[in-house]
């Protein structure tokens, strides 16, 4: 999300998600979309190293599932 989406681009995103929305719905959501662009921009940290992993813990499970 480096560039703000135009409404046309936003409509394409909604369509790709498979949501069947009215033009009024789409316009309403588009009005709030800049908040999410702001959130996404805030998460990018150029100083973060490639090795900095997410807060997901992946542990292999044994056959008992633990």
């Amino acid at each position: 999300m480096s560039q703000p989406l135009t409404q046309v681009e936003f409509e394409a995103l909604v369509k790709r998600a498979g949501l069947d929305l009215t033009p009024e719905n789409i316009a309403d959501l588009y009005s709030a979309w800049p908040h999410f662009e702001r959130f996404a921009a805030r998460l990018r940290n150029p100083a973060r190293g490639r090795e900095a992993e997410p807060a997901h813990l992946f542990r292999p499970l044994n056959p008992e599932g633990v």
């Binding site: 069947d20 805030r42 997410p54």
Partner: protein, 463 residues
């Protein structure tokens, strides 16, 4: 009988045979019948079940075999907690006729402790959104002023506890859904450490941020309820594999020697609170200092950073849970839930991964800050409750909340009443401890609560 018993006082009365579980239950059922038409805190009152539970408790007391301090105590459950044979709707048209076959783990554990189930409580739809007026049931209203919002999503629990319709109840907290209503309704609510209490059988909003927890009038009541819900549950993949802590024996241990870190930047800069909330925080600092705590100032990453990571994770995970229905049954959802969660379908995979990477950094920053302090102190909410009608649809995206940081870090956090402001509406402070130091958190909140007069006032409409 005291019109507003707490769990602790009722337990003492039951143990001394001064009141009976049936008498207590009938007292509360009468209050629900008299007052809930104004509050809408219940989606369903399970009167038959309640009386059966109460009679069973009474028989245990009569035979000298009560199960403990929760035996015979009337409670209710947020309507996302699965209840066997009893409708569990998430306050949504999509689950209007959903009847689970089994109890959620927490419901079962509270029942095994002897509680009396009065019914199922209002929530924001699927524990998010709200206040919504386009669902099959109206939203709960704030008993301090029924024209005002309860906050949510544990809206019914907040309203019912404050009005004295139940002695305690379940809530859930993904971004503040226990602590928000605790602040606006003037009660106590704790979001325990992630993994301390089972989520099994509770309708999920997200996979990595949902917490179950109790809400009640006092800190001690929350401790009693939390003690009965904590502990490992192999049916919840996030459940911590450790024994339930002792939350009660040290509750009155005081704060002498503890170090309290005030996160001023949160409530003075990142989301500046109003004068009443600020006074509540300042007074709490003095109260804790006077009791022997050392007060320090702590700086954490900006609330906006927590909001950014938390919002993207929450919306994306909620969308994944609801994707099928959002594509096929869009119009059956309430507007607020569906429109907020829809954004989760538009967020890229890379953005979600960046949010979860940022979450780790935020966890590490808070953990590092807590090497020098035992407790963090900030606001529970920025103001008193606003009016329920006419709230801006996207307001939750505009200013960062004070609660979501601790959903991201998983550490325990509690909101308690810290005074009353405009129109007699309550405000709340929030404190947080290190992961699995829930007992310490309760102890500090108890010390504050016992030193303040706020538990002596109930909403006028509840009188």
């Amino acid at each position: 009988m005291d019109a507003f018993p707490t769990i602790a006082s009722a337990a003492a009365g039951l143990a001394a045979r001064k009141i009976s579980p049936v008498e207590l239950t009938k007292h509360l059922l009468a209050r629900i019948a008299r007052l809930d038409g104004q509050l809408h805190s219940f989606l369903m009152v399970t009167e038959e079940r309640a009386l059966a539970d109460a009679k069973a408790a009474e028989a245990r007391f009569m035979s000298g075999q009560p199960r403990g301090r929760l035996d015979g105590i009337p409670i209710a459950h947020k309507d996302i907690y699965g209840t066997a044979g009893i409708r569990t709707t998430a306050h949504s048209r999509l689950l209007e006729h959903n009847v689970p076959a089994t109890d959620s783990t927490v419901v079962r554990k509270w029942a095994e402790a002897g509680t009396v189930m009065l019914g199922k409580l209002a929530t924001h739809e699927f524990a998010m959104g709200g206040p919504s007026f386009d669902l099959p049931w109206p939203p709960a209203r704030n008993p301090w002023n029924t024209e005002h919002f309860t906050s949510g999503s544990s809206s019914g629990t907040g309203a019912a506890v404050a009005a004295g319709l139940i002695l305690g109840g379940t809530g859930s907290d993904t971004g503040g859904s226990i602590r928000g209503p605790a602040a606006f309704c003037g009660i106590a609510g704790i979001k325990p450490t992630y993994g301390l209490c089972s989520r099994a059988g509770v309708l999920p909003l997200t996979y990595s941020m949902d917490h179950t927890g109790p809400m009640a009038w006092t800190v001690e009541d929350c401790a009693l309820l939390l003690q009965a819900m904590a502990g490992h549950d192999p049916t919840d993949p996030a459940s911590a594999t450790r024994a339930a802590p002792d939350l009660l024996s040290g509750l009155n241990g005081g704060v002498a020697g503890l170090r309290i870190g005030v996160v001023r930047q949160f409530h003075e800069t990142d989301n500046k609170v109003n004068a009443t909330v600020q006074k509540g925080i300042d007074d709490a600092v003095e109260i804790l200092r006077n009791q022997g705590a050392a007060i320090r100032e702590v700086t954490l990453p900006s609330l906006q950073d927590f909001q950014a990571a938390g919002s993207l994770i929450l919306m994306t995970e909620a969308y994944a849970l609801h994707e099928k229905w959002l594509k096929t049954r869009w119009n059956e959802y309430g507007e607020l839930f569906r429109d907020r969660v829809a954004f989760g379908g538009l967020i890229s995979g890379a953005d979600y991964v960046e949010a979860v990477r940022r979450r780790r950094e935020l966890q590490q920053a808070v953990a590092a800050a807590m090497t020098d302090v035992d407790i963090l102190l900030t606001a529970g909410a920025p103001t008193e409750a606003p009016k329920i009608e006419g709230m801006p649809k996207w307001s939750s995206l505009e200013k960062p909340g004070f609660t979501i940081p601790f959903n991201l870090t998983g550490q325990p956090a509690m909101t308690i009443c810290s005074g009353f402001g405009e129109g007699g509406l309550p405000v709340g402070i929030q404190m947080a401890a290190r992961p699995f130091e829930d007992a310490l958190l309760l102890r500090v909140c108890q010390a504050y609560e016992k030193a303040t007069p706020w538990r002596g006032t109930r909403p006028a409409m509840a009188g």
